[in-house]
């Protein structure tokens, strides 16, 4: 199919136009205008992206490229405002525009009563535009524009209800945590430019391919390298990838930069669904996939990524166990799932990571929007302890939640099952078979953590469903009668997402399960093959592989089932047991979990407070006292004191004047004479 490459630019530009229209005229033109502009433009983007996707599939070429204009060009540094549409971009683009459109539609209902309706849609459109720029960017700098842009939108949308200072604080926190990551990102970009002489993805990858020996000095790759020419290429690549990963930890909320994400739930729920679950937070994963060859060159970095991913997954899951705010549970769950994705990358299973990005986008968006429906119905009550028994009033939403929970818990043949299983298998493979034939203890540890997380995930998700929908109602009496199912486009969005959550797994069915309906030999690993991303497991014969895969699959399903069962039991019949634990032996443990492992407090005590205090002390001591007081004021004082001294010397007495005169003359005479005598 013919596809004009210049249409690519339209994909991000259309939502941008939406932003401008809604931002400038939205308030005057009324809600209908806003809704139409706000939704139609992302949907159009989706359509264009889909056409481009079809064109890409139909064509031989790897990617569709379009250069909008030359952006920065100084000497050897050249960056274009250019877009690339290859397999990876296509997938991300479709996810962003597709889910984005659905969430836009949902928002028309969710935000109906808000006075800043137009502003909301403007921001949402702007976000879509930046996110598309991020995934379409042809080089690191365009990506960075999107990267920072989505951060900005996240900031704006978290603090959307800016009358409440807490919301703004959350937004600011998100921005600043992201900035810390961006610092790493920027340094990574500098290093890449220094090593490869370009920030263009294609050129970087060409450079990576030309590397034959990572122990060779860097100057062998880039003879113009002004510095660090003697350092081994591998070392530099490790540095680069670690820096970029720091950027990713900020954006994708990994240890140690994750605390902003739970706070980000202060924003309206569709925002949480779009930005803080489905799209923006996965851009770190996208970055790693985009530079896969580079990351693959550095086993050290991959090890770090795996460790961080596994730890984050587990930590977030542990915290999620005891949260009572429905969105906070989902937020920690998101952090945890993002940890999974990074764990996958650390294991070298990029395609699994991307696959999980996609399925996670489906079911997490679904869950968030579902929780939005609950919150909407409950008039912005988010505390699950004040819910319960909503199944009767909100059967549809209940269904949605069940689907989402099953998907995320990895119940077989739901979308999450496929992606999570692939990730766990990659971990299992590394832990018990090893990429290089050797088995490492840390890989086994990480796998154990990931598997444990799977169980915990199933547990806290079902706990959430149980607390919200089952049991007896704790709903405020005044609210009870008003609880109702959402209307308008909201159920539509939910339904579509539900379908995707159920069947999304078909996108990347492992070869092992090719016998499933609608699948076939040729339809396995669709996503992986299309994007060209690595699988973790190579160099092993098929039988052995299948054996390993079955083992892993059974373990993960088993763990998930255990989690579900435990939740079912504890929040149903075993309630007393739970209460006993919470109030007794486990009191301290629960408190740790409830308080999010005191991480915010640690940050406050270790970084924020000392920094502020130091700043203040420096202001008083160095700036005001030392520089302004002693140095500046002091020198002025010295000069003025001299002036005062000389002024006082003028006593007003004629004899004193005469004496000055006479002495002056005498002194001159003496000097003169001594000079004359000395000379002659």
């Amino acid at each position: 199919m013919d596809f004009n490459p210049s249409l690519l630019a339209l994909i991000p530009i259309l939502p941008l136009i939406g932003f401008v229209l809604n931002g400038c005229f939205g308030n005057r033109m009324g809600r209908q205008f806003v809704s139409i502009v706000g939704c139609a433009l992302p949907i159009t983007s989706f359509v264009i992206a889909f056409r481009a996707f079809q064109a890409l599939r139909g064509s031989e070429s790897e990617a569709i490229r379009h250069t909008l204009f030359e952006w920065i060009h100084v000497g050897s540094f050249q960056v274009d405002m250019a877009f690339t549409f290859d397999g990876l971009s296509a997938v991300m683009c479709l996810v962003v525009t597709g889910i984005g459109s659905l969430i836009h539609l949902y928002s028309t209902g969710y935000m109906r009563g808000d006075k800043s309706y137009a502003r909301f849609f403007a921001y949402l459109n702007l976000f879509t535009a930046f996110m598309l720029m991020l995934v379409l960017g042809d080089n690191l700098l365009v990506l960075f524009v999107g990267w920072e842009g989505v951060g900005l939108c996240s900031y704006l949308l978290i603090g959307f209800w800016h009358e409440d200072a807490a919301n703004c604080d959350a937004g600011r926190k998100a921005f600043i945590f992201n900035r810390v990551g961006d610092l790493g990102f920027l340094i990574g970009v500098f290093l890449i430019f220094t090593l490869f002489g370009s920030v263009n993805f294609a050129e970087i990858l060409v450079g990576v391919e030309s590397i034959s020996d990572v122990t060779a000095p860097a100057s062998s790759l880039n003879s113009a390298m002004p510095m660090w020419g003697t350092v081994a290429i591998g070392t530099l690549i490790t540095a680069i990838t670690l820096c970029l990963f720091v950027g990713a930890t900020g954006k994708s909320a990994q240890i140690p930069l994750f605390p902003w994400l739970p706070d980000a739930m202060a924003g309206p729920t569709p925002v949480s669904a779009l930005i803080h679950a489905a799209t923006m937070v996965t851009s770190g994963v996208y970055l790693c996939c985009r530079l896969m060859p580079l990351f693959s060159l550095s086993p050290q970095t991959l090890g770090v990524i795996a460790a961080i991913g596994a730890c984050t997954a587990l930590l977030a899951a542990l915290i999620a166990l005891s949260q009572t705010d429905i969105k906070k549970v989902l937020a920690y769950s998101t952090v945890s799932q993002l940890g999974y994705m990074f764990f996958a990358i650390g294991m070298g299973a990029y395609s699994a990571a991307l696959f999980h990005v996609v399925t996670h986008a489906f079911f997490k968006a679904l869950l968030f929007l579902g929780s939005g429906s609950v919150i909407h119905a409950m008039h912005h009550e988010q505390d699950m302890r004040k819910m319960g028994g909503l199944r009767r009033q909100l059967p549809f939403t209940h269904l949605i939640f069940i689907i989402g929970t099953l998907a995320i818990a990895g119940v077989p043949f739901f979308s999450g099952f496929f992606s999570k299983d692939e990730i766990l298998f990659s971990g299992f493979f590394a832990a018990f078979h090893g990429h290089d034939g050797h088995v490492h203890f840390q890989d086994q540890l990480f796998w154990g953590m990931a598997t444990l997380t799977a169980g915990l995930t199933a547990f806290y998700m079902l706990r959430m469903v149980a607390l919200t929908f089952w049991g007896k109602s704790n709903v405020d009496d005044k609210l009870v009668d008003h609880v109702h199912e959402p209307g308008g486009w909201m159920p539509f969005s939910l339904a579509v997402l539900a379908v995707l959550s159920v069947f999304g797994g078909i996108l990347n069915v492992p070869e092992l399960l090719h016998w499933l309906p609608f699948v076939g030999e040729e339809r396995t690993f669709l996503l992986g093959n299309f994007t060209g991303l690595h699988h973790a497991h190579t160099g092993i014969d098929l039988d052995a592989l299948h054996k390993l895969e079955w083992t892993s699959l059974i373990i993960s399903v088993g763990v998930g089932a255990t989690g579900l069962a435990a939740a079912w039991y504890l929040y149903g019949p075993g309630r007393a047991l739970l209460d006993g634990f919470v109030n007794g032996a486990g009191k301290k443990l629960v408190r740790i979990s409830e308080n999010k492992f005191y991480i915010d407090e640690v940050y406050q005590i270790l970084i924020v407070t000392p920094f502020q205090f130091a700043s203040y002390v420096m202001f008083i001591l160095i700036d005001r006292f030392l520089i302004d007081g002693v140095m500046v004021g002091g020198s002025a004082l010295v000069v003025r004191s001299f002036g005062e001294f000389f002024r006082r010397m003028q006593s007003g007495f004629v004899p004193a004047y005469l004496l000055t005169f006479g002495c002056g003359a005498l002194v001159l005479l003496f000097i003169m004479m001594s000079l004359l005598n000395g000379a002659g």
Binding site: F69, E70, W71, I72, H73, V74, G75, F77, M81, L141, F144, V145, W147, E148, G149, L152, Y155, G159, H162, E163, D164, A165, N167, C168, D169, G171, R172, F175, I176, R179, V180, D182, L183, L186, I187, V189, F190, L191, F193, T194, P226, M227, W228, F611, Q612, A614, S615, Y616, M618, F619, I622, D623, I627, D628, M631, V632, A636
Partner: protein
């Protein structure tokens, strides 16, 4: 084309305009205001004319070598004090042209901004401001050291008056501090200039033709740059001369620890003063480095580079920390200027094309973004007569358009990609990274810290609950206010999204300079 002395016209339009304003009736303030605005707008148009002539001249050298494209254009060489060896020598190249344009663009906007804010001694204000404008343009165009010095100092007086007459409570202290501080540097610079003059026998920066009084023939005389290239100064001499020049420029920039005049001047100055101070005056310092200190004394530069870079990094971090604990908005932004200008200095002292182009872009960007922040603060100050951050909060609910502008300026200031701040900062850091990695990494921390204090400001200023009842009835931006904010916003996006025309203007000259210095 040759016959039009556009640069002299550009310099003297505001100065002569100021002189003419003196004959207006002081009571007829509206007339005076309009006249001043007309003069500065005319200057802006003239500067566009200069841009056009410059581009035409550049166009002729399209395929020419770097020396042709990067060298001074529209050079004027007039007689002033020939018996002293001082000439009215002006010229413009890629390094200065943007700064001239920035000056001429900001000036009418600033006059518009002070339309109502300055109600007292209007005539004097307009005169002082126009003189200031003329002086600023002159500094950027001067090619004779003495002429440079003259304009450099001439600016001081009107700025001093702006702070002292129309300033806040401690205006006298601030004005005095500003004046003396600056004089400390500039007088030592004068001494260094004299020494250089004696040593080389000329104060002309570039090659120029002089009619020999005996033969009556035009002889090409080498300028300082040529003389010093063929016949460099002693290393120790270079170090001393560089130190003298650098002190003067460092005070103006200002580089830590010579910055303490800036917060005081900013806080006490009226909006117009703050804007012009942040927008243009600080750039004089960095411009001086580019135009004089670095090219003239390459060895001195080499010796001092570690110091300058180190102090800049310290300044970036220190300025940011200081900004964090301020309670007065203007003071906060003043310290943020210390931080931002640190980037520029780093860009200049890595001495490569990226650093310099980035540095110049950043100079313009900082002028726009910080200038705009001061304009915005001026707007609320006009309405509320306070600048304490704690007296605000929740303004976004009351004055949304203002808030949007404020957010744009904030984002520009923290270097969000797509806005002007990013382009320069990125190029500077990238350029710095090529030469001094740790400096670049240290400076990058400013990116984070900048976000911290600016967003904190935005939050405390615009968001949160509306605590103070007095703020409930604030009026949003008037058409006049929009009128002077929108051009700045447009420029911000232009530089951020499509900096190519700017870079193309700057690059040949920068390449020429950098190549020569590194040779």
């Amino acid at each position: 084309m040759e016959s039009v002395n556009i640069l002299s016209i550009l310099v003297f339009t505001p100065i002569v305009g100021a002189a003419l304003l003196a004959f207006f009736k002081p009571k007829n303030t509206a007339q005076v205001r309009h006249a001043a605005l007309a003069i500065s707008s005319l200057t802006f148009l003239l500067s566009l004319g200069m841009l056009w002539m410059y581009s035409t001249a550049m166009g002729q050298h399209e395929d020419g070598d770097l020396a042709a494209r990067g060298s001074m254009q529209l050079v004027e060489f007039g007689e002033w004090l020939p018996s002293l060896g001082v000439h009215f020598h002006l010229g413009v190249d890629g390094i200065s042209i943007l700064l001239v344009l920035l000056t001429t663009l900001l000036s009418p906007l600033i006059l518009l901004s002070s339309w109502k804010a300055i109600g007292d001694r209007v005539k004097e204000f307009q005169i002082a401001f126009l003189l200031l404008e003329g002086g600023m343009i002159g500094v950027f165009l001067a090619l004779d050291l003495v002429v440079f010095y003259v304009f450099w100092e001439v600016m001081l007086v009107p700025m001093y008056l702006l702070v002292g007459i129309w300033g806040g409570e401690r205006r006298i202290y601030a004005a005095m501090k500003f004046f003396i501080y600056t004089m400390v540097g500039s007088l030592l610079m004068l001494l260094a200039m004299l020494y250089l003059w004696w040593h080389t026998g000329t104060v002309q920066l570039i090659e120029h033709g002089i009619v020999n009084p005996e033969t009556g023939l035009l002889e090409m005389m080498p300028g300082l740059l040529e003389v010093l290239r063929t016949n460099p100064l002693e290393p120790t001499t270079q170090v001393w001369l560089f130190a003298a020049f650098a002190l003067s420029f460092a005070i103006k920039v200002p580089i830590f620890p010579l910055h303490t005049w800036l917060p005081d001047a900013h806080v006490e100055a009226p909006t117009a003063g703050s804007v012009v101070l942040a927008g243009v005056l600080l750039k004089m310092g960095t411009y001086g480095f580019i135009r004089l200190a670095i090219p003239l004394f390459p060895h001195g530069t080499e010796v001092f580079t570690p110091w300058m870079l180190g102090l800049s990094v310290v300044g970036i971090v220190f300025g940011a920390c200081m900004a964090l604990v301020q309670t007065d908005v203007k003071k906060l932004i003043a310290y943020s200027s210390v931080s931002h200008m640190g980037f520029v200095v780093i860009g200049l002292f890595v001495i490569n094309d990226l650093g310099w182009v980035g540095g110049i872009i950043q100079m313009v960007s900082h002028g726009l973004s910080t200038g705009m922040l001061f304009l915005l603060i001026g707007i609320v100050y006009e309405r509320r007569h306070t600048r304490e951050i704690s007296h605000f909060g929740g303004l976004a609910q009351v004055i949304p358009v203002f808030s949007v502008m404020f957010i744009i300026a904030t984002l520009s200031s923290i270097g969000l990609p797509g806005l002007n701040g990013f382009v320069g900062e990125f190029m500077i850091l990238l350029g710095a990274f090529r030469e001094h990695q740790w400096i670049a990494i240290g400076a990058s921390s400013g990116v984070v810290l900048g976000a911290v204090y600016m967003l904190t400001l935005a939050k405390r200023f615009l968001f949160g609950p509306l605590v103070h009842e007095e703020n409930r009835n604030l009026a949003d931006l008037s058409p006049r206010e929009l009128c002077y904010l929108v051009p700045i916003v447009v420029m911000m996006f232009w530089i951020g999204l499509y900096p190519k025309p700017f870079v193309e203007l700057i690059e040949p000259s920068v390449q020429l300079y950098v190549d020569t210095i590194n040779k």
